[in-house]
């Protein structure tokens, strides 16, 4: 079956929210999902409506290759650091760094889905703003639309992307 949405990188917050909403399995069927090795460890549990911890186990999806796991090599990290603001390594989660570094080595068809303002900000700053995508937009593209909290919306992504664009204009965050 052809997936409706290909080349999709997810960060940990999105995986946690998808599990919380009970949408993970359906989305995996509809999308070609890639996650960083670090993200697999970061998305460890979610809190249900009663506040109880529910473990997130991606091992079956990984084993069956329903989702793809990638690693970022040290040389790729070093190149990222040499080109952009070194403080990004301190400001971003390792999982987000992993996804951003990966995205920069891939074609413009790829999308990075996040609920973290800094991810959209950095993407815009490195001239890849159009490759950021919100969970609201992902769900909309595969016919699973529903109301979401602000940080998962297109509005949030657009707002933070604009901040990154301003940084780029003011020459902040880039070495070249």
């Amino acid at each position: 079956m052809t997936k409706r949405l290909s080349f999709l990188l997810l960060d940990a917050n999105i995986i946690i929210e998808l599990w919380r909403l009970g949408l993970w399995n359906r989305l995996v069927e509809l999308c070609d999902i890639h996650v960083g090795q670090t993200v697999v460890g970061e998305a460890d549990f979610f809190l249900d409506a009663s506040g109880n911890r529910v473990a997130i186990d991606l091992s079956a999806d990984i084993a069956s290759r329903r989702i793809q796991v990638f690693q970022v090599e040290f040389s790729e990290l070093a190149e990222f650091r040499s080109r952009y603001d070194p403080s990004y390594l301190a400001k971003l989660d390792p999982g987000e760094t992993e996804a951003l570094v990966k995205l920069l080595t891939l074609s413009s068809d790829w999308r990075l889905c996040s609920a973290d303002g800094i991810v959209f900000k950095v993407l815009a700053n490195v001239q890849r703003g159009e490759q950021g995508i919100s969970l609201e937009e992902v769900l909309g593209q595969v016919g699973m639309s529903r109301p979401l909290r602000k940080q998962y919306t297109r509005e949030f992504r657009t707002e933070k992307t604009k901040l990154g664009a301003i940084d780029a204009i003011q020459n902040r965050g880039r070495k070249e």
Partner: protein, 378 residues
């Protein structure tokens, strides 16, 4: 702190060397590091020997185990930050020190990212006080300079944070250990207090550590990580005089003397008023008596302190609420950095010492917090 000119110039050997330096600074064997970071011992050995480089997920895990940022592994010759312990904990001292330094670096990063750096750092005295009289003069001078008033202890922490940007953290030391401090060109001056000590005890420790920060250059040049007995006694003298102004203390004692003696209940009452431990209060009175050439027996003073401690045990509730590990300003800066998309949710969680899920819940709650308090022009 030098940095390599560009990531591309890094060799596996250079990264391996930094991995080894970070592990040794954290006081871990390869086996311990391997278990903490969940990286195989043979892989770790290969990385440190420059045979191959770690992937990002492996490097992140090792960085977390070593309490170092990823950027550490790109540095040429990172400076070694020094932690001076007043009384080193018997267990886990390296771990406490490493976490303390990590928090100091985080605090400094947040200040930079939020553009909220302290303009006036803790001064460096060119010369250390040579004797008790000089330590006393220094304390009087600092009390006046910081405008600490007649009851300095309750305000000292706030004043040090606000006026001199001192970074004050708390951790629980077991089974022993009092306080520590550090001063570094990168993050400035910082103090680590024992959250298990009572607030009055911590007040004294804070003043004691302040002495070390003021005299850092003078004392630490020769002895970076250890202090002499004299230095510790001078620090105690400084703390005692700083927190218990002689004139105010005499006035507070007033007519409480009974046949030229101060009854223990009165001493306990005064300790509460000045927000210091009864030990500190009695030692201060002892010091004032010595200065006035009175004949005082140190053994008797110690015996009195034991009695006073027993008497005040029930009334001193100042240890009831342990302080938060991170200072309020640190937490405010982290919130500000998150709101302005300067840090990720995961980093915010790490900085605040909460789970990623708790941080995500916080983001949910504060998503509607854009409203501003408006002052009417009329």
């Amino acid at each position: 702190m030098n940095e390599k000119t560009g990531g591309l110039s890094l060799t596996h050997g250079a990264v391996g060397e930094m991995l080894r330096v970070a592990r040794e600074r954290r006081g871990l064997s390869q086996g311990q590091a391997s278990a903490m970071a969940k990286v195989g011992v043979s892989s770790l050995s290969d990385f440190e020997n420059g045979k191959r480089a770690p992937s990002l997920d492996q490097l992140s895990a090792l960085a977390a185990a070593y309490d170092q940022p990823l950027t550490f592994f790109f540095e040429d010759s990172p400076t070694k930050e020094v932690v001076l312990w007043r009384q080193r904990p018997i267990e886990g001292a390296d771990e406490h020190a490493s976490r303390f330094l990590k928090w100091c670096r985080w605090y400094r990063d947040l200040e930079v990212w939020c553009k909220d750096e302290t303009a006036c750092p803790v001064p460096d005295l060119p010369k250390a006080p040579a004797n008790f009289q000089a330590a006393e003069r220094l304390a009087i001078n600092i009390r006046s300079q910081l405008d600490l008033g007649e009851y300095p202890a309750p305000v000292l922490l706030k004043v040090l944070e606000e006026k001199w940007g001192v970074k004050v953290f708390h951790q629980e030391f077991e089974p022993t250990g009092t306080a520590a401090c550090s001063k570094d060109a990168s993050f400035g001056a910082a103090i680590l207090l024992n959250a298990k000590s009572s607030r009055r005890r911590r007040n004294f420790d804070l003043a004691h550590e302040l002495f070390h920060l003021l005299t850092w250059k003078a004392f630490r040049a020769d002895s970076p990580e250890t202090s002499t007995d004299l230095e510790e006694k001078l620090a105690n003298k400084f703390a005692s005089v700083l927190l218990l102004p002689e004139e105010k203390l005499k006035a507070a004692i007033g007519d409480r003397w009974v046949e030229n003696r101060l009854p223990l209940p009165a001493a306990i009452d005064l300790a509460r008023a000045f927000d210091v431990s009864v030990d500190a209060l009695i030692w201060r009175l002892h010091g004032m008596a010595v200065k006035n050439d009175a004949v005082v027996d140190e053994g008797r003073t110690r015996a009195l302190i034991d009695k006073a401690r027993a008497l005040s045990r029930l009334s001193d509730e100042s240890s009831a609420d342990p302080p938060p590990s991170r200072p309020e300003r640190f937490r405010d800066l982290a919130v500000h950095a998150l709101r302005s998309a300067e840090i990720s949710v995961g980093r915010f969680a790490e900085y605040m010492g909460i789970s990623r899920q708790a941080a995500m819940a916080y983001v949910d709650e504060e998503a509607g917090g854009d409203e501003a308090f408006e002052l009417s022009a009329s």
